[in-house]
């Protein structure tokens, strides 16, 4: 019993081998050897005939003579590889020559191996078996990758649908809670206001999470399309800072904005870049202790706009930097006032910045805190 040899044998039975040789005798000898292991055989008497018959036969392996009338084995090999690319069956040269120059030429033409004449049955079978098993593994791997990418696609589709269907009801819950809170349908007692505020903030943070999931699903499915136009980045950041300060004030944190002397004009997708800036600012507030000062600094070089956001948080823990811009890459650092995090925000930022051909980076500051920097080319 030789399990390591017999195991692949049964699954290789029925594999198709194309023998290309102008010498009928060689085909007969090889055929006799190969039939003992149950391979299915086809043959061609020239390179031209092999190239022509290949698509119909769809062999799992090709045995190819080098010296033939018409185009030789090396050129036949090149032609097959050129036409069928990565999917081309492994090609093994049959050669009486074992001069290393010929072997090298054969390998560089795209052949995987060579069989020296006269044939040794055991060697022929062993070499062919190896290449067929390799090919089988490659095929299995390919189909596995295809299955995985299909599963990933389905996951994204599901994520997108779920997030999308959750979004409207959540937005309504949030909005209706606002109507209640504002007394639009009658005055509430302090206790009632407190409850309604809880509903409001819970639905608000859930909406943020759902939006991030939806963003990731959209981006991953390759549907992130940016619509670039000339924009005043200074105004955009200023607006973000103004809105983020409303939330920051709840933690007694202040965001200061320092803009370049002249407005920074760049080609970008305003809604998407706004999302990035909002995210960096809200992160800075989220991870800085209450009462902190967050600084946003916008500058401009000849070719790029640079925005730095500096917080007073604990910085990025050693060894967790890799996770920072990855999906669900939550760090051990926690928000300082119980805020929520999906670990998706920065991954989304990176993807949006990438789509603008910009860069995003983070660095701990010597004086404490962390600086997030984005750089966006002025023109795309």
């Amino acid at each position: 019993m030789e399990p390591s040899v017999t195991a692949p044998l049964s699954s290789l039975r029925g594999r198709k081998i194309l023998i290309v040789d102008d010498d009928r005798l060689n085909i007969r000898i090889l055929g006799g050897i190969l039939k003992t292991e149950g391979y299915v055989l086809a043959d061609a008497s020239s390179g031209e005939a092999a190239i022509k018959a290949y698509p119909e036969i769809r062999p799992d392996l090709v045995l190819l003579d080098v010296v033939m009338p018409g185009i030789n084995g090396f050129d036949t090999c090149r032609a097959l590889r050129a036409e069928h690319g990565e999917d081309c069956a492994p090609i093994i040269f049959i050669t009486a020559k074992t001069a290393s120059d010929d072997i090298v030429e054969g390998l560089s033409a795209g052949g995987l191996d060579y069989l020296p004449k006269p044939f040794q049955a055991r060697e022929v079978l062993a070499r062919i078996r190896t290449h067929l098993v390799n090919r089988q593994l490659v095929e299995q791997q390919k189909s596995l990758v295809a299955q995985l990418s299909k599963a990933n696609e389905a996951k994204n589709k599901f994520l997108g649908m779920a997030a999308h269907d959750l979004r409207n009801p959540l937005a309504s819950i949030r909005g209706l809670a606002e109507f209640l809170r504002d007394g639009v349908v009658g005055e509430l007692t302090a206790d009632q206001v407190d409850l309604v505020n809880t509903i409001h903030s819970a639905s608000q943070s859930m909406l943020v999470m759902v939006n991030e999931l939806l963003d990731v699903a959209t981006i991953e499915s390759g549907e992130l399309k940016i619509q670039v136009s000339e924009q005043n980045l200074s105004d955009l950041v200023e607006k973000s800072v103004f809105l983020a300060n409303i939330e920051a004030a709840k933690k007694k944190t202040l965001i200061e904005f320092e803009s370049a002397a002249t407005p920074v004009i760049a080609h970008l997708d305003p809604a998407k870049i706004q999302q990035v800036v909002d995210n960096l600012l809200s992160n800075a507030v989220k991870y800085s202790p209450p009462g902190s000062l967050v600084r946003a600094v916008l500058t401009c070089s000849d070719s790029a706009a640079l925005l730095a956001v500096r917080d007073q948080g604990p910085g990025i823990p050693e060894g967790e930097r890799d996770k920072l811009f990855k999906d669900f890459g939550q760090l051990s650092t926690k928000p300082t006032a119980g805020e929520k995090s999906t670990g998706l925000g920065l991954a989304i930022c990176r993807k949006i910045v990438d789509a603008h051909r910009g860069t995003i980076a983070a660095e701990n500051l010597p004086e404490g805190g962390c600086e997030f920097r984005i750089s966006l080319p002025l023109t795309t």
């Binding site: 999308h164 979004r167 409207n168 009801p169 959540l170 937005a171 309504s172 819950i173 949030r174 909005g175 209706l176 606002e178 109507f179 639009v184 909406l207 939806l214 619509q227 809604a271």
Partner: protein
């Protein structure tokens, strides 16, 4: 802002009709609000009541927003339609504009944003007439 016209709100989700209805009342003072839960009901209501403005959801069962929009425009080429959309689906929004929708509102934005878009539409199409 005071607008006392009739607004037809077509959306299959009851919570959206309630939410947007409240925004309309708060923003516009005293409009008459009619509700329909799908495109077909919306068209029936339009023919019965001839509202001044239609707010129309894009994705609905029975008859979707774009189909409904085309049908409304056949019945009344001058009908004023604002699309209600949840995702910023640019293609659908563009299709709707091609078929004559005058504006669109993202339902998943804060109510101030929805109110602003409604006020803008009403100001453009009704108050301009009044001040002219």
């Amino acid at each position: 802002m005071n607008f006392d016209g009739t607004i037809l709100l077509i959306d299959d989700e009851a919570h959206i009709r309630k939410f947007v209805g409240l925004i309309l009342k708060q923003q516009l003072g005293n409009p008459t609000i009619l509700e329909a839960a799908n495109g077909q009901e919306g068209i029936d209501a339009y023919q019965r009541e001839s509202p001044d403005l239609v707010l129309l959801d894009i994705s609905m069962p029975v008859m979707d927003g774009l189909q409904t929009l085309r049908r409304l425009k056949e019945i009344d080429p001058d009908c004023l339609v604002v699309m209600l959309t949840s995702m910023a689906n640019r293609q659908t929004v563009e299709d709707a504009q091609v078929h004559g929708a005058v504006n669109y509102i993202r339902k998943d934005t804060p109510k101030e944003e929805i109110a602003r878009a409604i006020a803008q539409t009403v100001a453009t199409y009704f108050e301009a007439d009044a001040s002219a």
